[in-house]
Amino acid sequence: MSTITVTVNGKSYTKEVEGRTLLVHFLRDTLGLTGTHVGCDTSSCGACTIHLDGRAVKSCSMLAAQADGSILTTIEGLAPGGELHPLQVAFNDEHGLQCGFCTPGMIMTAADLLSQNPNPTEREIREGLEGNICRCTGYHNIVRAIQLAAERTAGVPA
């Protein structure tokens, strides 16, 4: 057991964690933030993607203890204040989801991509999201949603 302090979606938590607890399980089971999903056990699917100190990480690929002192954002905190983030609006508008299970991870990865590259080409989007699997949508609308969010936020500093 160790004690960690993390800021998640703007709120600070100090919690005891078992050494073997993955960050994703800490978020889901301890903090009840179940919007971050688990889709594999080989860090292949990206369903668990969150932001750690501003960059996208697969939260199944690190221990909760390793996140001590970090600032984390999950899908629940992507748009503070109850508004929707432009990517959330665009995924909804462009139908970039079906079952919705991959969606939080897709959006978190896409948010990181757009913060690095606000105007990605279709290929750049497809390659940037290569680590996120969607079994339902066929990806098409996901790419369109990210393009739409990029267009709508053009010129708006991230």
Binding site: T36, A47, I75, L97, C134, G138
Partner: protein
């Protein structure tokens, strides 16, 4: 009136899904929740001689290890384990005894206070086995092929029809012949969400179960029977499902184990499978097919032989409709079909997106392409020569079939006319370009279903039915249908599903949900409308007092005269007339069998594909695909298009990537992770285009819809295989077409 039906509307559950608020089975909390972790067998066949659990049990916080030795009593009869999708045979019962029937079989459940502890304790369990020889190889066991047993399942999956005409004679005399053997590897559904059940143990011993399923009532039935509980003590809830593709048509073993543990410990239990364990129940069966086609020199196909042998388990006879697709598409007079299965030491296969269809259709559609080359006729032309408005497997006309229009529009959009038929004739640098096409087909069924509709005192409509939304858009299209039927804005309509307490609905499969539940929603709203109309007539001085039902329409939250829109009563006024109570209706919709029975009902597609094959590396990319769909009325082009594109990507996946690789020496699927089981990612997908062809059908169901969950995948694999032939001159009849088969 249709304000919503046919419009490309965003999903009603979209916001819940983009904000992480949609909750899946493993995400419901319960006080003092415990966690179960499944231990899987490491051998394929034999007996457990000893299972040592003491070390696991000695850990503080480990509550129980349930094995076949200490499990509580469960139902005795096979009947008690039959779910609504059970094939004939003896369903698998977890922890029944020490017998191991397949690799990865669940042999123990460890329950602990935390997930991490349960997982660790599971690693401490020691098992001794006495191994027995196993058989998992379909190819080397073909001599054991036999006819499947028939049972309830045979109603939906009838065996192929008897031979017609004289295949042998006509084939022998045919000027053009092709013959081939077609096969594909097993595949696993791999929805992104792992199977999970959260069983909430209520104070009185009742269970509320959040389950990943395509039928809450199917899971409820299973639990009540297996554990001898009453229906009122088991409620299954499943509002969101993270994909299923057929895998949720049967209750999976985590449900059984979680319920058993909850009852034993009198505590709430969650069991979530690992991705590896997602390969330990149900898969698309490996299947081997032989086809022979005989045609005259004009291209008319006169003789068809099509057989198929699929794998099943040693305990159940899983079957699919495979060879029957040939005469459903091509109207030959001389047809011989055969279908058999081989029991192997694997888990029972399980319906996976377009079961049987995406097995049989790609085989016949590849053979047709071979025939086109044999005859020197364009593949599209050959299909038109053999076009039929009758389904010769049943010898009935189709209720509607706009496939000809699919061919025309698809070919035009794709630019098929510019194709040079010679293999290897088109290239871009060191990429060989190939163009291929295929027909697709999937049945359009309708089942009985019930729904309930309530217009509340504040004028909101709530409609329920115990169906599921596995991502297809059920919530959205049902809301559209309800809103249009009663002339209400969608914001005032709430459609709920996924609860065993709701009115009866069948498992969500076979692409029948839109037709089945959609019809029930329409009927219940119409009947609710009649009640509201009667109430409206009773209002003193009602402008509708003398009106007949046929004279009125429901528009803008009003019931009004069609001829005189000013004569109207608002729905609110009608409810107010009900003495302060909501107006309530429960209805059943039954397929119009008398009308349907004289017709074959199916959706069709024409698929055109471009591939690029790297000459040196053998890598294949699907750079362009057009799918033209005749799927009846399209309720929502946005959700519909997404269904088809998703299906097309499944088709690419099936043709080029997906395969569960069995190591026959140890009898286990070796690539049991998403790292090694390949599915397309974003970067694999290029240009995909969907066309919905107008198709009117008032026989298929009252809504004229055909269901779109499966038609998107069926035509893709053969179109790709045919394009690969066109690019390379290599005819690959074994799916998936991996690069080793090209080089």
């Amino acid at each position: 009136m249709s304000n919503y039906i046919g419009k490309p509307l965003s999903r009603v559950d979209g916001v819940a899904k983009v904000t992480g608020k949609a909750k899946y089975a493993a995400e419901f909390d319960a006080p003092d929740l415990t966690y179960g972790y499944v231990v899987s067998s490491t051998i394929t066949k034999g007996r457990i001689t000893h299972i040592e659990t003491s070390e696991a049990l000695s850990l503080p916080g480990v509550l129980s290890v349930i094995t076949h030795e200490n499990r509580p009593k469960i139902a005795w009869l096979d009947m008690s384990y039959k779910d609504q999708d059970a094939p004939p045979g003896s369903p698998f019962r977890p922890l029944r005894d020490n017998k191991i029937s397949y690799s990865g079989q669940p042999i123990a459940l460890v329950v602990a206070e935390t997930f991490e502890l349960a997982r660790y304790a599971a690693s401490l369990i020691r098992v001794d086995y006495r191994e027995a020889p196993h058989e998992t190889n379909l190819d080397t066991n073909l001599h054991r092929a036999r006819k499947p047993k028939s049972g309830l399942a045979s109603l939906l999956k009838p065996p192929p029809p008897k031979p017609r005409g004289n295949f042998d004679e006509v084939y022998a005399a045919s000027p053009a012949k092709v013959e081939g053997r077609y096969s594909h590897s097993p595949e696993h559904h791999n929805p992104m969400e792992m199977f999970a059940s959260t069983v909430v143990y209520e104070k009185d011993g009742k269970l509320t179960i959040y389950d990943k399923t395509q039928g809450a009532q199917n899971s409820q039935l299973y639990v009540t029977q297996a554990f001898n509980m009453s229906f009122s003590d088991v409620r299954v809830i499943s509002p969101f499902v993270g994909g299923a593709f057929g895998s949720g048509l049967r209750p999976q073993y985590q449900l059984f184990l979680a319920v058993m543990a909850a009852r034993e410990l009198k505590r709430s239990v969650r069991v979530t499978l690992t991705r590896q364990q997602m390969f330990t129940f149900g898969h698309r069966p490996a299947t081997i097919q032989n086809i022979a086609l005989g045609a005259d020199s004009n291209g008319k196909i006169n003789a068809i032989y099509h057989d198929a042998v699929g794998e099943t388990s040693q305990f159940e006879d899983y079957t699919e409709i495979v060879p029957t697709w040939s005469p459903m598409i091509y109207p030959a007079e001389n047809v011989t079909l055969d279908y058999k299965i081989v029991p192997l030491d694997v888990f029972t296969p399980l319906d996976m997106r377009a079961p049987g269809g995406v097995t049989g259709v790609p085989a016949i559609e590849t053979a047709i392409d071979e025939m086109a080359y044999e005859l020197g006729i364009d593949p599209l032309e050959l299909r038109l020569i053999n076009y039929s408005d009758r389904n010769m497997a049943e010898d009935k006309p189709f209720s509607s079939k706009e496939l000809r229009e699919c061919f025309r529009q698809g070919a035009e959009r794709f630019g098929w006319a510019k194709r040079n038929p010679k293999p290897g004739s088109m290239r871009d640098g060191h990429n060989l370009i190939g163009w291929g096409m295929s027909t697709g087909m999937w049945e359009a069924n309708q089942m009985p279903a019930r729904a309930e509709a309530v217009l509340t005192v504040n004028g909101k409509l709530r409609v329920t039915s115990a169906t599921a939304d596995i991502g297809t858009g059920t919530y959205t299209i049902m809301t559209q249908i309800a809103a249009d039927t009663l002339g209400m804005p969608m914001e005032d309509v709430l459609f709920k599903l996924g609860d065993s307490d709701m009115p009866l609905a069948p498992i969500e499969g076979g692409s029948w949900t839109a037709a089945t539940v959609g019809s029930a929603v329409k009927v219940v709203c119409e009947e609710l409308g009649r009640k509201l109309f009667k109430l409206a007539q009773k209002i003193p001085g009602s402008p509708l007092a003398k009106a007949k039902w046929d004279d009125v329409e429901f528009v803008d939250k009003h019931i009004r005269l069609k001829q005189n829109p000013a004569a109207a009563v608002s729905l609110q006024q009608a409810v107010d007339q009900n003495g302060g109570a909501a107006v309530w209706q429960k209805s059943t919709s039954l397929p119009a069998m008398m009308k349907q029975k004289n017709y074959s009902r199916a959706a069709h597609s024409a698929v055109f594909v471009e591939v690029m094959v790297d000459e040196d590396l053998g890598t294949i990319r699907v750079t362009r695909a057009v799918s033209a769909i005749a799927g009846g009325k399209i309720l929502n082009p946005k959700t519909a298009r997404s269904q088809i594109i998703g299906g097309m990507v499944w088709g690419i996946s099936k043709a080029l990537e997906e395969e569960s690789v069995m190591d026959h020496t140890i009898g286990r699927f070796m690539n049991h992770s998403l790292a090694e089981y390949h599915v397309p990612v974003n970067a694999d997908i290029h240009d995909l285009d969907v066309i919905f062809v107008e198709e009117h059908d008032d026989i298929v169901n009252p809504l004229g819809v055909k269901g779109l969950g499966e038609i998107g995948i069926v035509g893709m694999p053969a179109a790709i295989a045919n394009a690969v032939f066109h690019a390379t001159g290599k005819r690959i009849r074994e799916l998936p077409i991996t690069l080793d088969k090209i080089l």
